[in-house]
Amino acid sequence: MQKIGVFICWCGSNIAATVDVEAVAEAVKTEPNVVFSTNYQYMCSEGGQSAIRNAIAEHGLTGIVVCACSPRMHEATFRKAAAVAGLNPYMVEIANIREQCSWIHKEKSEGTEKAIILARAAVAKLNRNVPLFAGESPVIKRALVIGGGIAGIQTALDVADAGYEVDIVEKTPTIGGKMAMLDKTFPTLDCAACILTPKMVDASAHEKINLYTYSEVESVSGFVGNFTVNIRKRARAVNSDLCTGCGVCVEKCPSKSAKSEFNQGLCNRSAIYIPFAQAIPNVPVIDRDACIKFKTGKCGICEKVCTAKAIDYDQEDEIITKQYGAVVLATGFKPISMERYDEFQYAQCPDVITSLEFERICNAAGPTKGKVLRPSDHEPPKTVVFVQCVGSRATVDCGKTYCSKICCMYTAKHAMLLREKYPDTEAYVFYIDVRTPGKSFDEFYRRAVEEYGVHYIKGMVGKVAEEDGHLIVQGSDLIADKQVVIKADMVVLAAAIEPDPTARSLGTMFTASMDTNDFFTEAHPKLRPVESPTAGIFLSGLCQGPKDIPDTVAQAGAAASKVIGLLSKDKLMGNPCVAGCSEPLCNGCSSCELVCPYGAITYEDKMVIDHGVRETRRVACVNEAVCQGCGACTVTCPSGAMDLKGFTNLQIMAEVDAICR
């Protein structure tokens, strides 16, 4: 016989304004086995929690129902409170009368009626609850960071500094990511390479950090504290242990027509290449699509010139299987494709470039050695037009609905750098809004206007056309209510940014949920910003949403602290809401084994007592440490032997009954 207490929260006025909490408390008193009910202003506060603890002691409650906010918010809080008072934490049920009642309904009578029904359903379920006890599982004290940009590097360094092993998996041949491509950083104008490359060196030299570059995650199994990950280390065709990074092979390679990815296709590279001078590891890779040896079997020059004998054309992909306690997703971003923006002539005119391409052109190590020259004729431009919000804040299908956040600042930076290097060159910026929420950001933008004389025009560019070697830019100046036509030499498009395309498949692999834009979603938008809703998966950097370098580094550190918190535990309390098999009912059909996504179900021969008859039967056994509690087996089981603790057939049925009463 249960003794149930019901606690109704006002949540200030969030609930109390649309739900008559007194009436709910009164109504639930007549529900079966309810011996106590009360209401309180903030149930989650210390006062509310102590009320719960006192009531449990005073009335000898065997279970409690808290009618409050979503269980996703405070279920854990109330379970802890119950545990302190000696109640099994799984004897707590939450009726969600805020998100799913008071916040969506306006009429108090309706809200109250619905709250009573929801409370009744929770009581009905609780009447069928039994105490559950969580198992423990060990934590593997190693973290995996996917993505070797600034986010991944920072997270790895922070975790490694705390004394835990970290592996970084990076799909390109070097770590460094997009930040390595940048010239200067706003708003301080310090050189990106000067602040990034020491971190890259730190990461590669750190005894706790292991780099897998030119590698990708192939598959994953397991759960928080205990992931098993297969990493495909793609064949570089260069033996990293022997290579000295002298670069002779790169120099002598006769195939030099592949586009340099690092320089955004603005110049060519050889078939065997090191992406950039400070690349880590400083080991070349052979691009098999461009290499003459791989295409025709002839050539082999790199092998001949390599004194270290490091070239190995027969090298094959290697699969490395490792175990991790935590996984950090730091997959970063890329600019969206400009191919579909015909009005800007990006695909047609070489002098219409993206901001990331402009970044390479400005860079001293870039294709033009830092001279701002037009890609078409290598002449210095006299007039440069910058167009902001290309693809950002757009509801049409080739764009993105969100603000890319970084474009206003880098455009100001580009215009400023241009005016500084070439005071005779005019810079025009077309903007819809200039968004500068950040420390010293607005001052930076004003400097571009006031000190550097960058012309900011409020309006958008409608058309770019090539004419006699110039680009005719037609845009609107909304302040002057004019259509302006600028004869420019170069047009720089601030392309919207989007998550790296590999994020989608990783999200599916790690069951990390994504929003409609393919950014990873956080467990809570305010309170758990660096955790994925899936336990043990953490988010770092731009894969979670647009952000600049300082924000990325801050978030990377936050993700690291969460990882350290997890890895510092020796054991994790498991989820006791797992499947269980009623052995006398099991007929050994294997249906459940086939649907289990985790391989948690095996079959064993066991002594079973069925109707007084003892016999050995083949029955299902659930590995409780592996089971994640999805319940697929419970519905598949033809004999009804499988049930899910915490969500049993009887419990859900009781909820249905209570709601439909």
Binding site: S70, A121, S513, Q628, G631, V635, I659
Partner: protein
């Protein structure tokens, strides 16, 4: 008291099964975004859409529900990798059987709602409630024994 004996305006009863990881979170987001949907929708939280036993849906109709909707993660995005695929097949079979039994297709629905789709959840519930209101009361499976006896 069975719902169909209530006097006054028809007030449909809708049971929504929502998976804990995405659709329930989507329903929460609809709430925190203050998006209204009918009061008749009552959500039951399940770990995954694949936990929804066809019996639960039958039971709801037996007990007088006018419509049942099941919400889960988008296909390919299941928290448990593949649960929603099982759910999709089961409900496809169950719903066509229910249609055969006289519970119109409009009374049963499957919708994929992610944690970020609060607006979709609210819109879906509004549309579904409208459909059910148009269809009227559902007495087809109502079982007097269920209504009278407590389990």
């Amino acid at each position: 008291m069975p719902i169909n004996e209530k006097g006054g305006a028809f007030n449909p009863l809708i049971v929504a099964f929502c998976c804990n990881w995405r659709s329930y979170a989507g329903a929460d987001l609809a709430g925190s975004s203050r998006l209204n949907y009918p009061v008749n929708v009552k959500v039951i939280r399940v770990p995954c859409s694949c936990r929804v036993n066809p019996l639960f849906i039958l039971r709801a109709f037996q007990r007088g529900a006018d419509g049942v909707i099941m919400c889960g993660c988008h296909p390919g995005d299941c928290h448990y990798t593949s649960g929603n695929y099982f759910a999709r097949r089961r409900t496809a079979l169950l719903f066509s059987m229910l249609d055969f039994l006289g519970i119109e297709k409009g009374r049963t629905r499957v919708e994929w709602v992610s944690a970020a789709e609060g607006a979709k959840f609210a819109n879906t519930m509004n549309q579904f409630a409208e459909t059910i209101s148009a269809l009227g009361e559902c007495k087809r499976l109502e079982d007097i024994r269920c209504v009278e006896s407590e389990i």
